[in-house]
Symmetry: C2
Subunit: 400 residues, 2 copies
């Protein structure tokens, strides 16, 4: 489909009688939408000797002008009323303060459509017509019919002027994510408001003492008990995550995660037994404040935020354990094998199954991060930060 739009600056270039004739007899009838202002209309009609009156004083005059223009041949006339701001009741105002509405007229030879937008007292005057005609052409190219394309163009220009601070803001509907696709996690961990909090978590003294084996055994046993109690609530939050999913695949993935947590807990019990802790010992313990704070924060996010917000609350645990265990594993300073009673803990979180779970979780975060808006990213990062602090609270139990 070919659209032929005319902007009236052309008229200024019409010199010879031949050019004028081509313009009126050939260009105008080819035109899909003629986008034109009141002064341009007056000039155009004067040249065509078709103007009955040049004093445009009412909405009726405006409609009359649009009809006169249409008789020159274009498919649609889009007559911009910007030079005639009206009152709320679409009358010509006595005082400037009563200027509230701009009415543009779209006429196709049959129907008169009035498109109302807010009057904005602006210095912007040059070039607005070009923006209108480009915006209409863009909407036509997107497949909208002329009336809707024109309405959308009017809204685009109105918003562009109101958000423009003296210029037209062409990008008022555009947002830019602050990270490249596939690099969301790295972006989050390197943010100024995240980095120190994340470092405090993954480089915590508790973690170092797991690495060199100097953590007092009672502290570690307390941690194991609370971690077990934590996982019960974490599984409930995963159930809410499944509930908030909108595909069977995602619901099933949530169920798989719950079953994975259950298996992890059973290993946990075996591991605890090595430290002389029975299931009964564990389940009879009360939740520590840090455990309640962390788990109930995640459960509240599960209730009150979006599905992806909840994934951000899960993330510090998932990512953190992987990163911590990997670093301890790689660190030549780490005490290994029989030399470190906590070596098995490190092994657990560098094992293939845990690594696969982290990779899957990372892929989900990356996939959905790019579907968020840039203004949501800050709120999502706040969830991540608070959950990280709550996770660090777990290590802090060891200081008490």
């Amino acid at each position: 489909m070919l659209f032929f739009g005319l902007r009236l600056t052309l008229v200024q270039f019409i010199g010879s009688t031949h050019e004028t004739r081509v313009f009126y007899t050939q260009l105008l009838p080819l035109t899909t939408v003629l986008t034109i202002s009141i002064p341009e209309t007056v000039r155009l009609l004067n040249k065509a000797e078709a103007l009955y009156q040049s004093d445009i004083r009412s909405l009726d005059d405006l409609v009359h002008l649009a009809k006169a223009l249409h008789s020159l041949g274009p498919g649609f006339v889009f007559l911009r009323g910007g030079h005639l701001p009206l009152t709320r009741n679409l009358e010509v105002p006595k005082y400037d303060i009563d200027k509230e509405v701009i009415v543009d007229v779209l006429y196709d030879g049959t129907d008169v459509s009035l498109i109302k937008t807010a009057y904005i007292n602006t210095e912007i005057s040059q070039g607005v017509g070009y923006v209108f005609s480009s915006a209409i052409a863009s909407q036509l190219a997107l497949g909208e019919p002329v009336p809707l394309a024109t309405r959308k163009a009017c809204q685009y220009v109105e918003t562009g002027i109101s958000k423009g601070n003296g210029l037209i803001n062409y990008f008022h509907s555009t947002c830019i994510l602050p990270f490249s696709r596939g690099h969301f996690i790295e972006y989050v961990l390197n943010r100024e408001d995240v980095k120190p909090i994340w470092e405090a978590h993954v480089h915590h003294d508790f973690v170092k003492r797991i690495g060199d084996g100097t953590l007092p055994i009672e502290k570690f046993k307390d941690y194991l008990v609370q971690d077990y109690l934590f996982l019960v609530q974490f599984a409930r939050a995963k159930a809410l995550s499944a509930y908030k999913s909108n595909s069977m695949e995602a619901i099933a993935a949530g169920a798989e995660e719950i079953l994975h947590i259950q298996r992890e807990m059973s290993l946990h019990l075996d591991y605890c037994a090595e430290f002389g802790l029975s299931r009964k010992d564990i389940e009879e313990q009360e939740e520590h404040q840090a455990c309640t704070a962390y788990t109930r924060y995640v459960l509240d996010i599960a209730h009150s935020e979006s599905w992806f917000g909840l994934q951000m609350a899960f993330a510090p645990c998932l990512l953190g354990y992987g990163i911590i265990a990997r670093r301890l594993w790689d660190d030549p300073g780490t005490v290994r094998e029989q030399g470190n009673r906590y070596w098995k803990w490190i092994q657990n979180y560098v094992a293939d199954d845990y690594r696969a779970a982290v990779a899957a979780g990372e892929a989900i975060l990356e996939k959905h991060a790019v579907l968020q808006s840039s203004s949501q990213i800050d709120s999502l990062v706040k969830i991540f930060v608070h959950a990280t602090k709550m996770e660090t609270g777990f290590w802090n139990m060891g200081n008490e």
Copy 2:
């Protein structure tokens, strides 16, 4: 702060001895970041007679090159390894199929940073260096330190190439909302997938017969009862909306809405009394399927979707009643006053307080719509569409 970046095309323009001297003695030492590829490095070092070997065969050679370049004066050398794709283990591959990683080297005279990105087999070769240096400069302008600016530039280029289909996609992190700020509702109601469903709701036969007074009284009474039962559940959903709010202002607004519904229900009871229905008559009725479907759908959205998703589920009711009542009020065909036993119903929904509630609800929708991402808009519209169908189900009760 002034950043001075050098792209090595400059070297090609170095002709006279004087120009060469200026380049090496003045431009290079001024440079904040020198962005350069392997072949460019070889040319540059050859000219400076500082090249020890030109056969770059390993990652060590690459690091060595970066150090040699740094001795020429720039603050940072960013040596792009694109001409030397490596294996997963950072070795030089024997076969093309083993090319997996590109390693770029950043060197500041002290620290060597290796930046790894995925190797992408692409036709894109010309101009990538310009994109790198522009991306680094942009990140520096945003206040990032050179190492992070460089990492982000690498991610930007990697994603730009992988999403580029043979060209670099510069806009991979950009999204454009399909409506202008302040015109979200109009956009939704005019979408192709919404318009017919919306029209079926607001132009429903039930509504027409309220307008001309021909609706059988029993049908209207059934509707009144179900509408009352509906409002009880709607109030519960408003409570969840308050719970999901994250400011005291928004929580309080939710509470105000619940109290508004309570007042509306009390008027409802007075109105029902005029039709011979007592409170007991109403509260003893069972919910019709249509009432359960609509209210439980909204409550499920309240649980499972974001706060704004819930506002989209509320929207068809809020907007629809305002639009319907206004149209009936304006329509010369509507039977008025004593002539129409349903006239008071129309009056209720054009009254100032209801109009104010609609305006407030519209403002909230418009304010938050622009904070969503373009990919979320479709899901949000789906909620609106389904809630509209459930609302239409209310009118359909009158057909049974």
